[in-house]
Symmetry: C2
Subunit: 296 residues, 2 copies
C-alpha cells in the first residue's frame, strides 16, 4: 500500500491496531518523538524497550501482556545506529507469531549500507506477522511524501478503513513518476551513486574527527545518513551549545529519549546528519563541527 | 493552508470544530456522502438543510441551537446546480456572525462559469466567519490531491493541530509545480481554454437532448462540469438501468440524498458529468445517453 510517507503508514497501523482492540505498542527507548505521538494519538500505550549494542532488548515483550505490537528499526536503530542482533530478529518474530502480535518494521534508510553485508528485511522472516514500512524520504526527498507498507493480507481492510476518504492516496503523478523511475532502472542508479557520495562524506567525517577530536567516538555509521558522536560524560549540553553557536543543526541524543525511559548517565552524544548539506556546504559544516568538538 | 484535496480541508475543519466543542454541522440535503462521512467520523451531527431553487434553505439554522457551522456549495450547489440566492448569502453570513459560527464554503468548480457573471466567494462577505475551501481537482485533476483552505487566523492553530505529523503537507514538488504554473500565467490560460471546451460540451449535450429527449429538462448548467437531467416522475431507476446497460457511468440524484432528508416525489433525475470522457469518446457517450433517454 502506497502511503503519504512513513508517518502515514505508522499512523494507519496504529489506528488499525487500536481498532482491533490492541492496547499497547512497544517502541524503542530512543526514537523520533512525533512517531511516538502518532501512536499515542491513536490511543495506544507505548512502553519503551531499552536499546543496547545489539539493538532493542526484548525481555519486556514477554513480561507485558497488553502488548499487541512492537515498532522497531531493525536494520539501523534510529538514532543509535546498531543493527538488531540476528538472535533478536528471530526472537521478535517468534514472539509475534506466538502471541498473534505484529512487528512494525521501520526501514527508513535500508538503501544506504556501507561496511556490512545488506541486512535483509525482518519482514522476510515472517510476512504474516511483520508490517514492512519503507519510504522515499531518505533515498529521494521527504517532501515527496511517498512511503509504502507491505502488510499481511488480513490487515488490508483495517488499513484501508483507517485511511478513509480524506487520506485515500498521495499524489498520483508522483506515484507514477516514481514507478517509472524504478522501472527504468534510474532509481537503482541513483541509489548507487548516492551511496558512494554519502559514504565519502561519512569517511571524511570519521577522518576529520579522528584527527581533531580523538576523544569523540563515532558510532552507528555502518549504514544510513547520520552518525552518533559519543562525547565525554556531561559534555552533550556544551557541545550542543557550541554547535548552535556556529550555526550547525545537530541534535543531542537526549532529545530522542523516550520520556518513560530513564536518562542514562554517560550517554552523552551528538546525532549528526551528514546527508543534508549541499556538496559545497559540507566542508564548512564539517569544519564547524570539528571546532565545536575540539573546544570540549 | 494547502491541503491534500478538498477532502482533507473538510476533515481538518470538522475535527477542529469538534475539538472546539461544536456538536453539529448543517449540510445540504443533497451532496457527496463521503463528505458527510468525514464530518460524522469527526464526531459531528450533520442535520440536512433542504435545497430549493434558491439553494440551501436556512430556516433550520435559526431553529437548532447545537449548530456551530454549516457546509455549503454556494456558487453551484452540488449536485443540483443552483447558486445560493444573494439574500441567503447575506443571511448565512449574518447568522454565522451573530452566533459565532462558521460557514464552510465548498467552491469545487468556481473556475467554470458559462452563462452568468462570476459569483464572488462567500468568504469575501466576512473572512472572519467563512472558511473558503478550493481545489485543483476540477481545474486540473483529482489525482493531484491539491486543495486549499483560506481561514480566519484564529482557526489556524486548530487546523494545524488536526493536521498533525502524519498529514502535515501534500507532495512539495506538486505544490511548487502548481505555484509556478499559476505564477507563469499558464494556469489562467489553461482555465480559459478548458472553460471553452467544457462549455462546448455542455451546449452539445443540451442541443442533443432538446432534439432527442424533449421530455428531459436539463438543469444546473450555468456553471461546472455536470448537468442534472430532470426526468418524468418515477423514471430514475429505469434511466439508470438503461445507462448502465450502455456502459455509461452516471448517477441518480437519489444517490446524493442525505439519509435524514425524506425522498422527494418527482425529483427523479440523472446527474451527468460531461467533463470526464476524452474528446474522442464524448460523441459516443452522448449518443448512448440520448438513446437511454429516448427509450424512457
Amino acid at each position: 500500500m502506497v502511503c503519504s510517507g512513513f508517518a502515514q503508514g505508522l499512523s494507519l497501523a496504529a489506528r488499525s491496531l487500536r481498532r482491533d482492540g490492541v492496547r499497547a505498542l512497544a517502541v524503542e527507548s530512543y526514537g523520533i518523538s512525533p512517531h511516538r505521538e502518532l501512536a499515542t494519538a491513536a490511543g495506544l500505550l507505548i512502553p519503551p524497550l531499552p536499546v543496547d549494542r545489539h539493538g532493542a532488548r526484548l525481555d519486556l515483550l514477554e513480561r507485558r501482556q497488553d502488548l499487541g505490537a512492537v515498532l522497531l528499526t531493525p536494520a539501523h536503530q534510529f538514532p543509535i545506529g546498531v543493527p538488531l542482533h540476528p538472535d533478536r530478529r528471530a526472537a521478535v518474530v517468534d514472539w509475534a507469531r506466538d502471541r498473534g502480535a505484529l512487528v512494525l518494521e521501520d526501514d527508513y534508510d535500508g538503501e544506504f549500507r556501507y561496511d556490512r553485508q545488506p541486512v535483509g528485511a525482518l519482514q522476510g522472516l515472517d510476512p504474516e506477522h511483520v508490517v514492512y514500512l519503507g519510504t522515499a524520504s531518505k533515498s529521494l526527498a521527504p517532501g515527496l511524501r511517498l512511503g509504502w507498507a507491505v502488510l499481511p493480507g488480513r490487515l488490508l481492510d483495517g488499513f484501508l478503513a483507517a485511511k478513509g476518504y480524506a487520506e485515500r492516496h498521495p499524489d498520483s503523478l508522483s506515484q507514477l513518476t516514481l514507478a517509472e523511475f524504478i522501472e527504468s532502472g534510474a532509481y537503482d542508479r541513483h541509489i548507487r551513486a548516492m551511496r558512494l557520495r554519502y559514504r565519502r562524506r561519512r569517511d571524511q567525517l570519521v577522518q576529520a574527527l579522528a584527527g581533531r577530536a580523538p576523544q569523540v567516538r563515532v558510532t552507528g555509521i555502518a549504514a544510513g545518513l547520520h552518525a552518533v558522536l559519543r562525547l565525554p560524560p556531561g559534555a552533550e549540553p556544551r557541545a550542543l551549545h557550541g554547535a548552535t553557536w556556529l550555526g550547525l543543526a545537530v541534535q543531542g541524543l537526549e532529545s530522542f529519549r523516550h520520556p518513560e525511559h530513564p536518562p542514562e548517565p554517560g550517554s552523552d552524544a551528538l546525532v549528526v546528519g551528514y546527508g543534508t548539506p549541499p556538496d559545497h556546504g559540507f566542508p564548512t559544516a564539517l569544519e564547524a563541527l570539528c571546532r565545536t568538538l575540539e573546544a570540549l
